[in-house]
Amino acid sequence: MTDWYKIDRQGGDRLTDIRQFLKSVLGLESVSAMLVPRQLPTKDAVMPSLVSRPVLLDDADPLAPAFAVNSAKNISQLTRKGLDANIAAVLRPCEIRAHIELVKLHQSASEPVLIIGMDCLGAFSNRCYQAFLEENEGPASEAFCRARLSGAEPSNTVEISPACRMCEQPIPEGADIILGLYGISLDEGLFLQARTERGKEVLDNIGARGAKAPEQREQVVQSLIKERTEKRDQVFEETAAAVNTIEKLSEYLSGCVNCYNCRVACPACYCRECVFTTDVFDHDPLQYLKWSERKGALKMPTDTIFYHITRLVHMGTACVGCGQCANACPNDIPLTQLFRMVAHRTQAAFDYQAGRSADEPPPLTIFKEEEFDEIVGLGS
C-alpha cells in the first residue's frame, strides 16, 4: 500500500508539525501510549520515552540526530510477555527492521504496535552527539534536518556515525505510516504514507487528507541509496582487507576488553543469558594455567576473538546494521563495519535480508535439500 496523505503546515517549524501530528495519533482512543525519542527534561539528552500524556509530546524530538539505544529492544520489553493494549512507536528504519527480526524470534509482538517510521537522516554516535550539542548550544534538530536534506554537513566538528554514512536503507519500509522527509520541501506540510490498512485507518481517523505522491521523492531516494550503496561497498572492501586473516582480525579487535557492551546494545542479540556468561565459558582455573603453559603467555581476558566470531555467527543473519555495537564500544573498535560486512554476505548467501519481511523465516530454521551445491555437491 502506498497511499499518500498530507497535513498542512500549522505554523512554526517542521518539528512543531510533527509534534502536532503525534499528538493527534496519541489522541486516538486506540492508542494508549507512544514510544518516541524525547528530550529529557533534565538535560539535552534525547531518549526513547513511553509517553501517555499528549501534552508531553511537546518535548518529542524524532528529528534529533541522537540514537542512544535501538528502540526495538524497548518494544521487546513492552510486548514480549504480551501487552494488553495498543501503543504507537516512532522508529528509525533500522529500529523497525530489528523489531521485525525480534518478532520472528518471538521476542516481540507486532500486533500491539502501530509503527510510525521516520525517513532517516542518520544520527551521531553518543559521544559525537554531545559535541554537536555543545557546538549548537542545544538540540538544533531543525537545523540538522535542513543541513542533511540539503546535502550539507550538519557539524563542523563531528561526522554522523559510520553506520548511518553507509546505510542504504534510509526509508522505513516496514512501518504502518511513513513520515516522509526526503524529496519533500521543508516549507510544505507533512507528507505521510500509509503502508498498511492499519496505518491508513489511523491517518483517516486523524483527518489527514489524501495527497499526490511528492514528485521529487522517488528520485531523491534512489540517488541517495545509490550513493550509500557505493559507500557501503567501499567500506566492505576496506574492512575485508583489514580482517582477512586471523592475525589481522585479532589486531582489529585488539582493543576489546570483553565488556560485552556491544552485545547489550545489539537489538538482535536477544538471549536472556549470553552463552559467554554461562558455565560454558566459566573455565576451570587450572585450565588457564594449562593454556598459559602451552603458549608461554595467555592474554586475559580470554576468548575475545571467539566471542566476536560467535556473535557474528549468531547475529549474522539478523544484523540490521544499526551501528549500536560500535556506539556502545568504550574502546572505539569499528565493530559496525565488521558486522555489517559479514552479515551482508551471510544474508545474501541465504537470499535473506534481516528485517525485510515478517513472513520470511530466519534462514537456519528452514531446511532445503538442494542448496549450497558448490559446498556439498558432488562437483565440489
Binding site: L105, H106, Q107, Y270, C271, R272, E273, C274, V275, T278, D279, V280, Q287, K290, W291, R294, H314, P361, P362, L364, T365, I366, F367, E369, D373, G377, L378, G379
Partner: protein, 1149 residues
C-alpha cells in the same frame, strides 16, 4: 534386549533382507540373516547414490524409536543388532518342515580368514601374487585373491577368494595377527582320485596335487575307478567324461551311489554344453575343460578341499523363512544386439557405471573412460537392454532402469560441472511412482537429453576414438558420437530361484522368478515362506522396503500363529542401566603395547606420567596382543572388579574391535557407552611404516594427544537411566478400504486390539466398484473374504459411518475421539495408521461432462459390471491416458490407469474383435511383468498413439461448435509418423488418475506432513516409506501414493509390521543421546522448534516452556546448533566437552 520368542530365517542380506531382519528383530524375534556374499548390503554396497534423492540414506532403516537397540552407524559398513545373527558367505542347502517349525541346513563357505583376528590392515592383499578382476567394481579394476569384499565395510575383515587362491601362503606369512588359516597338515587326509585314460594326464595331476600335500590315487578306467571307490573313501574325484570302458556320466552316477557325499568334477578335452548340463544334472560338482594350467586347477582343488572342512554344515530351527535373494542382471554379451559390449571397453553396463563414478571405485570418482582414462565429455544410455525385448525372451520391463539412467545422467552432469553431455535413448519413460515424474522433470531441466527411439547398433567411430550410436528417429537413420555408452541392462531371475522352487515347492512365473500368490507380493504357496524384494521381480528401494516389511509381517504372523508366540517385548537393559552420569569420571586406560613395538617407538614412562596427571584417569593398564584371542581374553580377565566407571581401550585398528565393545562392557559391568575404543597410533607404525627412533619425543606426543582427546571425550559421555514411556498396546486404523482392512488383520493377527474407523456405511472402499484385476483375479470375492475375516475377528472393532474427530498425544500414547456427539468414544492407541485411500481424479478436459460418451475409467468399469456396456454395439472406442496427470499441478503418475485401460481395451476386443480400440498415451506404464499385457494388447490389434503434453489430443463432442457429426472426433499428432490423425469414436474413456483423501486436520494434529499433492509424506521415500517423521504415525494404500491392490496390501502389511514393532512393547525406551532444554537459559525464541525435523519439540502451553518429546528426539543436534546460548544441549555434545577435546587434540607435540 528382547526375549527370543521365536526365530526366523532371512535369506539374502540386501536391502530387502536387511529390512525384514530389522523388522523381525525389533519385534522381538531372533533372526538368522544369511547371505552367500561375504558382506551384507547386496547391491547397495556398490551404489553410492540412489534415485530419487541422488544420495544414500540406508542408515534410515535402523530403528528410530528405541535407537539404542542397534549400533547406529552406516549400514553399508555393517549391522550390529542384538537379535540379528549375520551369517555371511553362507548358503542354504535345504529347508524342511512347516510353518512355525522349519529346519534349515546351512553350508558355511570357508574364507580362510578368522574374522576375530583380522584387523583389516591389508598387508595380506599387498603380499598376494594372484590378481583377478574385481567383480565389486564390475571388472573395471583388479583385486587380489585375498581382499576386503566391500571397501567401506567395518571391520575391514578380508576373505580369500577360493576360486582364485593358489594357496601359495604369502599372505599367511605377512599377517601380523595370524588370522589366515591354510593348514597344510589336513591335506594329507584329503583323498583325490584322478580317473583318466591318458597316463600323461594322470601323472601330471598326481605330481601337481601330491606336491601340494594331497593324497592322490589314479585310475585308468571307469571300472578301476569304481573299484577303488568301493574299497576306500575319497573326497574328490576328477573324472574324464570319456572313459575307455564306459561313459563318464555313468561312472559318475555309480560313484555317487557308492559314496553319496563324494564330490565329482568332470573333466573333458572338448567342452560341450550338453555334456556339461547332463553331468551337473547327474550330480557332478563342477565341469572343467582340459588342459589345465597349474594356476587354474589348484584353486579349484583347494576350493573343494576347503569346502569339505569340518563344521561347515549348520542346522537352524526357525518358524518362518523369507527369501530375499534379489535378482541377477542380463549379460549383454548373451543378446543378439550386443551394442559393442565386450568389444569396446567404453561400453559398460549401468552397474559398471555406478562403480566408475564411485569415490571408492576404480578411478576414485573421476569421470574417465575405462579404455584410456581420458575425461568423458559425452555419454549415452541405451535403455531396455535385455528388457522389453522378445528376442532375448524378456517380455517384461525391469522397472528401475529408466530412473537409474536418469540418476546416472544427473550425477554425470553434476560431477562434470554441467559440462558433460548426457543422452538417454529410451522407449517409454517409466516414471510410475509418486516422485518419479518430478525427478524426470528435474533431469530435463538440468540438461539431460532424452531421445525416444530404438538404438540400432553401437560401433567404433571412423577415427577409432569414440563410439558411434546408430538409431532411427522421425528424420530417418542417424548417428551420434559418444565417449562412453552405458547399457541399462535388465533383470534376470536369481540364480537360486529354481533351487528354492524345488526345495519348497514354490511357483515360478514364466520367466523363472519366484511368484507370489494372487493379491499378495510376498506370500507363497508354502505357508510360512515369504518372498522379499527383487526375488519376484526387480524393484526400486521404496518397493523393496515395503515388500520386505510385508514379508516380515507375514513371517511374524506365521510364527505367532504356530505358537512361537510373540510375547510382549520387555525393553529391559539387564543391569546395564547404571547411571554413570552421577559418578565422577574414573577412567581405566588400557594400552595395547604390541609386544616391544610400542616401547621401541615412544617413551613409555613419559607417556604414562603425563596420562596419569589427568585427574579423571585412575589407572593405566598395559596389555599385549589384543588382536590374538588369548590377549583379548586376558584383557577381559583383568577388567573384573576394577572400580572404574569408564574404560578407554587404546589400540591400533580400533575399527576392528568396535563390534566387541559390548564384551568389554559386560566384563567390567558397565554400559556399552562407557567403553570407548580408539586408535592412538597409526597402524602403519607396525606395518613397515614405523617412524625413526629419533622421533621418539614426537611419537610420544602423538600418542599422548590421541589418548587425551579420547579421555576428554570419555569424560563427557552421557549414559543415565533412559526414560520409559508406557505404551497403549493397540492400534488405530483410519480408513476401512483394502489397505485398512489388511493392516487391521495383520495387527490383530499378532494379538493386538485394533479400532478400524470407516467414514462410509460399509467396508471396502474402492474395491466395492472394481470387478477384476488385469490378471483376472476376482476382486469382489477377495473383498468379501476380507470383510468377513475382519468382521469375524474379535480383536478388530469396526466403527462404520465414523470419523476420528480429534486426536492428541504422540508415539505410544495417542488419545482419540472416534465418532461425534453422544456416540463418541475415546480411544487409546500406541500407533496410528492412515489408510484413508484415494478417489478417481476429477476432470473437465477432453469434453468431459459435455457428452455421455466421454466417461472416466471408473464410470466405464461400473457401467461394464452393471451390464450397461454392449461391446457388440460399439465400433470404435478411444482412451486418453494421463488426463490432468503427470504435469503441474498433479505432477505424478497415477500408476493404475495404464493397466486399467489395457484391461478395458482387451475386454472390449475380446467381446467384439471387430471393434477398434485406440489408446492415446504419453508413456505406457507397464512395469515389471505387466509388460506382457502391453505386448498382448498390441498383438490383439489395439492401436497405440503416443502424444506429448505439448501437443495434446483434441476432442470434438457431437453438437459442439455446430458440428453435425454424431460421434466423437479425436485429433492427435503421432510423433512417430509425424502426422496428425483423426479418430471417430463411440466412446472416449479418460484416465484421470488418483487423488488422495487425507484428512489435513488430523495430519496436523499428528504432526505428520502432507506432500504437495495431498498424499502422506513419508519420513523418507526410499528407506522409511510407510511412516511419517512423526514417530508412531503410519500410512498405507492410496493415502501413501497411487498403487495397485496388491501393492496397497503390501504397504498395509509393512505399515502393520512397523506398528506392531511399537505396540508389542509395554514401554518405549527413549534414546539416551537426546536433547534437553535448560529452561533457565532459554529465551523462548523457538528457533529449535522450526529446526527440529522430527517434530519432537513444542511449547508447553501451561508454562510456556519448550519441551522435548524423548521418544521422537533422534539426537541429531539441529536444535543445539541453532540455539545461540546453549539453552538446548545434546547429551554427549556439550560445548564444554567439545572445548576439552579440541584442547586435547591441539596439545603439545
Amino acid at each position: 534386549m528382547a526375549e527370543k520368542s521365536g526365530s526366523a530365517l532371512v535369506i539374502g542380506a540386501g536391502i530387502s533382507g536387511l529390512r525384514s531382519a530389522i523388522d523381525l528383530a525389533e519385534t522381538g524375534y531372533h533372526v538368522f540373516l544369511v547371505d552367500k556374499a561375504p558382506h551384507i548390503g547386496g547391491i547397495l554396497e556398490q551404489l553410492d547414490h540412489q534415485f530419487p534423492t541422488n544420495r544414500c540414506g540406508m542408515c534410515k532403516l535402523l530403528p528410530a524409536v528405541e535407537p539404542d537397540q542397534a549400533s547406529q552407524q552406516c549400514l553399508r559398513r555393517g549391522l550390529f543388532h542384538g537379535n540379528i545373527e549375520i551369517l555371511a558367505s553362507a548358503e542354504v542347502m535345504d529347508i524342511s518342515g512347516e510353518a512355525g517349525n522349519f529346519c534349515a541346513t546351512l553350508h558355511q563357505h570357508p574364507t580362510l580368514v578368522d574374522p576375530n583376528r583380522c584387523m583389516g590392515c591389508g598387508q595380506c592383499a599387498e603380499a598376494c601374487p594372484v590378481e583377478v578382476k574385481d567383480t565389486f567394481n564390475a571388472g573395471l579394476s583388479t583385486r587380489k585373491a585375498i581382499y576386503q569384499p566391500a571397501p567401506q565395510a567395518l571391520p575391514g575383515t578380508h576373505v580369500i577368494d577360493l576360486s582364485a587362491c593358489t594357496h601359495c601362503g604369502e599372505c599367511v606369512s605377512v599377517c601380523p595377527t595370524g588370522a589366515i588359516r591354510m593348514a597344510a597338515a589336513d591335506r594329507k587326509k584329503f583323498k583325490i582320485l584322478v580317473a583318466d585314460e591318458a597316463s600323461s594326464v594322470r601323472e601330471q595331476l598326481q605330481t601337481l596335487m601330491a606336491g601340494e600335500g594331497f593324497l592322490v590315487d589314479t585310475a585308468e578306467s571307469g571300472e578301476a575307478a569304481l573299484e577303488k571307490l568301493k574299497s576306500e573313501a575319497f573326497h574328490l574325484v576328477l573324472l574324464d567324461i570319456k572313459m575307455p570302458d564306459m561313459e563318464g556320466v555313468d561312472v559318475l552316477k555309480e560313484a555317487l551311489a557308492v559314496q553319496p557325499s563324494l564330490q565329482v568334477v568332470m573333466t573333458t578335452a572338448c567342452a560341450a554344453v550338453q555334456s556339461a548340463v547332463e553331468s551337473i544334472k547327474a550330480g557332478a560338482a563342477d565341469y572343467l575343460v582340459k588342459p589345465f594350467s597349474e594356476d587354474f586347477l589348484l584353486p579349484q582343488i583347494y576350493r573343494f578341499y576347503e569346502e569339505s572342512g569340518k563344521g561347515r554344515q549348520r542346522e537352524l530351527s526357525v518358524g518362518a523363512v523369507i527369501i530375499a535373494t534379489g535378482c541377477r542382471y542380463f549379460n549383454p554379451a548373451e543378446g543378439k544386439d550386443i551394442f559393442g559390449y565386450g568389444l569396446y571397453p567404453d561400453v559398460v553396463t549401468h552397474l559398471a557405471f555406478e562403480r566408475l563414478i564411485s569415490g571408492t571405485g576404480p578411478f576414485g570418482g573421476r569421470l574417465v573412460r575405462p579404455s584410456d582414462r581420458r575425461p568423458v565429455n559425452k555419454i549415452a544410455w541405451i535403455q531396455c537392454v535385455g528388457s522389453r525385448d522378445l528376442q532375448t525372451d524378456s517380455d517384461f520391463c525391469s522397472s528401475i532402469c529408466c530412473m537409474s539412467a536418469v540418476k546416472e545422467a544427473m550425477l554425470a552432469r553434476e560431477i562434470g560441472g554441467g559440462q558433460v553431455e548426457t543422452v538417454i535413448f529410451h522407449m517409454d519413460l517409466r516414471v510410475f511412482e509418486k516422485p518419479f515424474q518430478q525427478y524426470l522433470d528435474d533431469a530435463k531441466r538440468s540438461g539431460v537429453r532424452f531421445q525416444r527411439c530404438r538404438v540400432h547398433s553401437v560401433a567404433c567411430s571412423e577415427d577409432g576414438a569414440r563410439l558411434a550410436i546408430r538409431y532411427v528417429d522421425m528424420d530417418g537413420a542417424r548417428e551420434a558420437l559418444f565417449d562412453l555408452v552405458v547399457l541399462s541392462v535388465g533383470q534376470r531371475p536369481a540364480e537360486d530361484a529354481e533351487k528354492f522352487s524345488e526345495m519348497l515347492g514354490l511357483e515360478l512365473n514364466p520367466w523363472g522368478y519366484l511368484a507370489p500368490r494372487p493379491f499378495s507380493l510376498t506370500e507363497t504357496s508354502a505357508p510360512g515362506v515369504f518372498l522379499g524384494g527383487a526375488v519376484s521381480g526387480l524393484t526400486d528401494i521404496n518397493d523393496a522396503v515395503i515388500r520386505a516389511g510385508a514379508a516380515a509381517c507375514g513371517a511374524s504372523k506365521a510364527i505367532h500363529k504356530s505358537g512361537g508366540s510373540l510375547e510382549t517385548v520387555e525393553s529391559a537393559d539387564d543391569g546395564r542401566d547404571r547411571d554413570i552420569n552421577r559418578e565422577e569420571p574414573n577412567i581405566l586406560v588400557i594400552l595395547c603395547v604390541c609386544g616391544d613395538r610400542l616401547k621401541a617407538l615412544i617413551d613409555m614412562d613419559v607417556l604414562l606420567d603425563r596420562i596419569q596427571t589427568e585427574p579423571a584417569v585412575s589407572q593405566c593398564l598395559e596389555v599385549d596382543g589384543l588382536c590374538s584371542p588369548d590377549g583379548w581374553a586376558k584383557m577381559l580377565e583383568e577388567l573384573k572388579d576394577k572400580p572404574v566407571n569408564r574404560i578407554l581401550l587404546a589400540t591400533c585398528a580400533a575399527n576392528a574391535y568396535a563390534h566387541r565393545r559390548l564384551e568389554i562392557a559386560d566384563a567390567a559391568g558397565l554400559p556399552e557407552a562407557a567403553v570407548q575404543i580408539k586408535d592412538v597410533f597409526p597402524s602403519d607404525w607396525f606395518a613397515g611404516g614405523a617412524p625413526a627412533k629419533e622421533q621418539t619425543p614426537y611419537n610420544t606426543g602423538y600418542v599422548e594427544r590421541c589418548l587425551k582427546l579420547a579421555i576428554a571425550g570419555l569424560k563427557g559421555i552421557h549414559w543415565g537411566p533412559a526414560e520409559k514411556i508406557p505404551v497403549y498396546q493397540s492400534a488405530l486404523i483410519i480408513g476401512g478400504g483394502i489397505a485398512g482392512m489388511t493392516a487391521a488383520l495383520a495387527i490383530a493377527g499378532h494379538g493386538f486390539r485394533v479400532d478400524l474407523v470407516e467414514k462410509a456405511e460399509q467396508l471396502g472402499g474402492n474395491l466395492n466398484w472394481l470387478g477384476r484385476t488385469i490378471d483376472g483375479a476376482d476382486v469382489a470375492e477377495r473383498l468379501q473374504t476380507t470383510v468377513s475375516r475382519v468382521n469375524d475377528n474379535s480383536l478388530i472393532h469396526v466403527h462404520l459411518n465414523s470419523t476420528v474427530a480429534d486426536i492428541r498425544g504422540s508415539v505410544g500414547r495417542f488419545q482419540s475421539t472416534i465418532g461425534e456427539g453422544k456416540n463418541a468414544q475415546t480411544g487409546h492407541h500406541g500407533a496410528v495408521l492412515l489408510a484413508t485411500g484415494g478417489v478417481e481424479g476429477a476432470t473437465e478436459s477432453y469434453g468431459y461432462g459435455k457428452s455421455p460418451a466421454v466417461m472416466t475409467q471408473k464410470a466405464f468399469e461400473t457401467a461394464r459390471s452393471e451390464g450397461r456396456i454392449d461391446p457388440a454395439a460399439l465400433s470404435s472406442v478411444a482412451m486418453i491416458q494421463c488426463v490432468d496427470c503427470r504435469e503441474p499441478p498433479r505432477n505424478y503418475c497415477s500408476r493404475v490407469c495404464c493397466l486399467s485401460s489395457l484391461k478395458h481395451a482387451m475386454y472390449l476386443k475380446e467381446q467384439n474383435p471387430d471393434l477398434s480400440v485406440y489408446i492415446l498415451y504419453r508413456d505406457m506404464m507397464t512395469p515389471g511383468f505387466y509388460e506382457t499385457y502391453y505386448t498382448q494388447a498390441r498383438r490383439k490389434g489395439i492401436i497405440f498413439f503416443p502424444y506429448t503434453p505439448e501437443a495434446k489430443p483434441e476432442v470434438v463432442v457431437p453438437g459442439q461448435n455446430g458440428d453435425g457429426a454424431s460421434r466423437l472426433r479425436i485429433r492427435a499428432n503421432d510423433p512417430i509418423i509425424g502426422q496428425s490423425v483423426e479418430i471417430e469414436a463411440d466412446l472416449l474413456i479418460l484416465a484421470t488418475g488418483i487423488t488422495p483423501v487425507l484428512p489435513g486436520d488430523l495430519m496436523s494434529k499428528l504432526r505428520a506432513e502432507v506432500d504437495e499433492h495431498g498424499f502422506f509424506k513419508e519420513a523418507d521415500f526410499k528407506w522409511r516409506p510407510v511412516e511419517s517423521l512423526a514417530a508412531g504415525v503410519f500410512a498405507c494404500g492410496l493415502a501413501l501414493s497411487p498403487r495397485l491392490i496388491d501393492e496397497s496390501m503390501a504397504s498395509a502389511e509393512a505399515a502393520a509390521m512397523r506398528a506392531v514393532r511399537m505396540i508389542n512393547r509395554q514401554y518405549l525406551t527413549a534414546g539416551r543421546k537426546i536433547a534437553v532444554v535448560r529452561h533457565s537459559l532459554c529465551s523462548g525464541c523457538q528457533l529449535c522448534i522450526s529446526a527440529c525435523p522430527y517434530g519432537a519439540r513444542e511449547i508447553d502451553p501451561e508454562f510456556g516452556r519448550i519441551e522435548v518429546n524423548p521418544l521422537k528426539c533422534q539426537g541429531c543436534g539441529a536444535c543445539a546448533a541453532i540455539c545461540p546460548n546453549s539453552a538446548t544441549v545434546l547429551a554427549e555434545g556439550s560445548e564444554t566437552e567439545m572445548f576439552e577435546m579440541i584442547d586435547a587434540a591441539m596439545g603439545p607435540v
